[in-house]
Amino acid sequence: MDVSAIGAAAGSRTGPGALGPGSLEVRSLSVRFGGLVALDDVSLEVPAGEIVGIIGPNGAGKTSLFNVVSGFLRPQAGEILYGGRRINGVRPHELNSLGIARTLQGLGLWRGLTVLENVMVGARRAKRPGFASALLGFSRSDRYEAVLTGLARDQLRLLGIERFADRYPGVLPYGVQKWVSLARALVSRPALLLLDEPASGLTATEIKELADLLRSLRAQMSIALVEHRLDLIMNVCERVHVLDFGRVIASGPPERVQKDKAVTDAYLGEELTPTVVEGEADARG
């Protein structure tokens, strides 16, 4: 079964446009940890086929937002829509077959699995042989393994890291490890990709390569990009949402957001007042 087809099916209920296949929209999300407000009435969207940046100072709630979307956190209020369909209460392990992939802040690779095995786990498919088949070593199980190996190798080749297939991630340069975590997310051919600081720890050249890669993916999926490296954001994003203390303080095209007073204040850690920059009106249209 083709996972991207599920995203497409989910989207087809509301038709194409902003809520098309693979799009993400959150409405009035609130998440509290005891007294701490991690997300406060957050609404934003990642339209189908766009790259949307989510920026903000440390502790602003960016990772928490991803945690809500991927089912690790239950929001106290609000809605999550994927391809126009409400997915509140989704469990993390269901994302893969829904066509949502997420990379983790840092690496999140399995260090005891080879690069190839890491990517093979990402390449799950709905129709897979059962436990008995694997236990008894049936050829169905072998064929499935061969298919996974092929998918994983193709993905590694696409990212130019096939030569590391049989190595363990821990011994590889950090940049290569980042690429492996991207390969693991991409191999499932997601309709929506959530990237949590993919550029952290990368060299300037690697960030340029990453920008090229992300732009080349735009045709196939929507991307939510959490990133501190503003150069990458400026380079690839159609639109940016700025979070601070769990609130969206600005939204719009990157050039405009960058000049926004509230945003510069937030990055200097000053008092803030939520403002909306001009771009937002058309963004929602």
């Binding site: 994302l95 077959s97 997420r102 799950r124 236990l135 199980s141 393994e145 363990y168």
Partner: protein, 334 residues
């Protein structure tokens, strides 16, 4: 690698089986059930990262099932008896595994420790079924009439090899598929596992049930070997010995389970026979084997931090790298 392990064990058996040495044959049967139990535990602890101090007790369930089944049907085919013991223990493991999947680290160790300490008490409590402290006897396996020249102990060893080989073949199949990868992925990072579509809790229960089934089979064979299922046969030290076998053999490797089984069966008896040849005050002599076994264990772990199998793999790679520069830098699981 696995094949090499099998050949070594098979060669050892063929070379060592001496029908006139009942003790050696008894030891080889012990190697079989330790190897089965350790294979299951290495999948759980080594591959899936769940520590169990309760597998000795699960072996007890296998042995008691064997005793109870044989009490009702004395002549039941041993394959059926062992199958029943495996199944019953697997079912019991679903409950334990479901609880274990919610626990981590020291809490999991504590809970399974409780199992090891508490379960023998159940056998004592329901003494009308399980025979109380004295236990329940298990009739010896006797060879069929056509092979009556074979001593029952030797027969048992040959019979014991069958479930051992089956267990290792099945587990080896399993761990090289997605199940093996999922087990290891969960051990390394549960969040990343869930995000990649693995049902973490369910897979952890599966690993527990799988290793529980192995413990049940091992316990059944232990019952046949000692002709008894008694609370005293499944002390906490049995669980610890299983764990020692897994660690010393090489955590998470199936050949390591065979090495570990050989070590925990043969090393203590070599030490005690050595001990008998020197003349020491009895107070020293009685404690020495245990102390020496501990010392051997510590030294072995220092020499082979990845267990015996880790050492074997390293040696293998060293030879390979001399022929082919740039060989792999790390020992793989299996």
């Amino acid at each position: 690698m696995l094949g090499v392990g099998f050949l070594l064990v098979a060669a050892l058996v063929v070379w060592a089986i001496d029908p006139f040495d009942p003790f050696l044959v008894y030891q080889l049967s012990s190697v079989c059930y330790f190897a089965i139990g350790a294979a299951g535990l290495t999948v759980l602890t080594g591959l899936n990262g769940q520590l169990s101090l309760g597998h000795g007790a699960l072996m007890g369930i296998g042995a008691y099932t064997t005793a109870v089944v044989l009490k009702a049907h004395t002549d039941l085919n041993p394959a059926l008896v062992m199958g029943t013991a495996t199944l019953v223990t697997a079912v019991a493991s679903i409950i334990v595994g479901a609880a274990a999947a919610r626990l981590r680290g020291p809490y999991l160790a504590g809970a399974t420790l409780g199992l090891a300490v508490g379960l023998p008490g159940v056998a004592v409590r329901f003494s009308n079924i399980f025979g109380g402290d004295a236990g329940t006897s298990i009739p010896a396996l006797v060879p069929p009439d056509a092979l009556s020249s074979i001593a029952p102990e030797v027969w048992l060893t040959w019979i014991g090899l069958i479930p051992t080989v089956i267990t290792f073949v099945l587990l080896a199949n399993l761990v090289r598929t997605r199940y093996g990868r999922d087990f290891r992925a969960i051990r390394e990072d549960e969040v990343a596992s869930a995000l990649n579509g693995i049902r973490v809790a369910r897979t952890q229960v599966l690993a527990f049930v799988l290793s529980g089934a192995c413990a049940g089979l091992a316990g059944s064979l232990l019952g046949y070997t000692s002709n008894l299922a008694a609370p005293g046969s499944f002390p906490l030290t049995l669980s610890l010995l299983l764990l020692a076998a897994v660690v010393i053999g090489g955590l998470g490797t199936l050949p390591g389970a065979v090495w570990g089984a050989l070590v925990v069966v043969f090393v203590p008896s070599w030490i005690s026979s050595l001990n008998d040849t020197v003349h020491l005050p009895s107070a020293v002599r009685d404690q020495l084997p245990l102390a020496l076994f501990g010392a051997v264990f510590v030294v072995a772990m220092l020499a082979f931090p990845h267990g015996i199998q880790g050492g074997v793999v390293r040696l293998w790679q060293f030879r390979a790298s001399r022929r082919r520069p740039g060989a792999q830098e790390q020992a793989a699981d299996l």
